[in-house]
Symmetry: C2
Subunit: 252 residues, 2 copies
């Protein structure tokens, strides 16, 4: 039975304050919950009998069978599905060795949950295992972002930390790339298979205190080069093109 | 003075029914309206005195100076700005010659206004002048999509038509590319500087009756190739990578 207090708790996870206080986040939907269930610690799973029956072993501290009408009351989605689940927020460490050896993303103030979710999904597609965000970036554990990652959130570590301090901790041992309008044509620059790629805010780009720590400034050329276009690509579209170009070099 | 009926009319343009009936669409925001004003026929422009004063000549059938509170009542945005404008829907013809000579996008049922808007913005960045959509794709003239295009809607012709019939009209004179999970590695395929690139629906991909008219099936490889990832990239992210790869070949 899904009581009033449980519903209130589940719905409270829309707000960061309550996610922080409880140490939990919410994920909804048949496919998403199945996908991430093996990766996160599940506190509470609420599902229709049919969904539960179709699963194998469900590893959750608490399991509640519920009617569609109950799930609807707890859900934050316009079209609730057969299951929602409350997971413990993971706590990740910054692993300097991995960050030095691999390619990782650094997010400087991306604001829109949908953009951040799409970026995490892009990271997952291209085998990027760590995304380091400035504290004022969108929270990847907000329900909207969790949904937008389509399960990629289980395979990509998203860490929030002060970016200038983080970048300084490498003492120039890795290349730090960033996308700028006045950067160099990405197709003609050397791209290493390790390093950090900095992605800036939707409207304002990369902040000065982060920008001055960037060693390689890149630019995605528009077409034709003298074409009068809008002044920028959407931040997730730019991230997709940049990550694809790094990986193209490695598999060619 | 912005009367009740005008406010009602402006707000009605959120719905496709009323856009079709009136032949008009709505755009909001200081930068967006300035950007597209030279390109579309403006029926009604509502703005604060300061915005009007900062413009040069404003070419609009009707011009209303309004207070912020009036604009707020007419606006569909959470954070209304200093101006909103009602434009006539453009009517474009399908120009076979241009479509045969250039690179164009074909959209098969993209549902999310934000995705379609981002795709139009990507088209603009890469000098793609025509986007042909199936009738059940999101309407590019819905206020949400207009906002998401960031002005690219003025430079890219978006046309709605039956896709199988449209593709058949070329009688195999142009290559028709499409992105599929089981397609061939895009980096190893020949890509021409003209042709049609078909982009499918967010969840279901390209429909069978469209897919069977595709001559070249492409795939964006994940990394590393045997990486266990989510099953797909976001549709706008995939479009960005594909368009960038075509243009990279031309400018290299």
């Amino acid at each position: 039975m899904l009581g009033k207090n449980k519903i209130k708790f589940i719905r409270s996870l829309e707000m960061k304050k309550f996610r922080s206080e409880s140490g939990c986040f919410l994920a909804e939907g048949n496919k998403l919950v199945s996908d991430i269930l093996p990766y996160f610690d599940c506190e509470l799973l609420v599902a229709r009998t049919s969904w539960i029956a179709a699963q194998g072993n469900i590893n959750s501290r608490e399991l509640i069978e519920a009617e569609g009408s109950d799930i609807k009351r707890a859900s934050l989605l316009k079209t609730p599905q057969d299951v929602l689940a409350v997971f413990r927020l993971p706590s990740y460490n910054i692993e300097m060795k991995s960050l030095q050896d691999e390619l990782s993303l650094v997010i400087d103030g991306v604001q829109t949950p949908g953009n951040l979710g799409t970026i995490v999904r892009i990271a997952d597609w291209f085998g990027i295992r760590t995304v380091v965000c400035s504290p004022d970036s969108a929270d990847v554990f907000s329900p909207k972002t969790v949904q937008a990652t389509m399960g990629a959130i289980a395979r990509v570590k998203v860490i929030y930390t002060d970016l200038p301090e983080f970048l300084d901790s490498f003492s120039n041992t890795v290349p730090v790339y960033g996308a700028f309008l006045e950067g160099k044509n990405i197709y003609r620059e050397e791209l290493t298979s390790n390093g950090l790629i900095v992605i800036g805010n939707e409207g304002n780009g990369i902040r000065d205190e982060v920008a001055k720590r960037i060693t390689n400034r890149l630019h995605i050329p528009s077409f034709p080069p003298d074409n009068e276009t809008g002044e920028s690509l959407n931040v997730a579209a730019a991230t997709a093109i940049i990550c694809a170009e790094y990986r193209r070099r490695e598999i060619m």
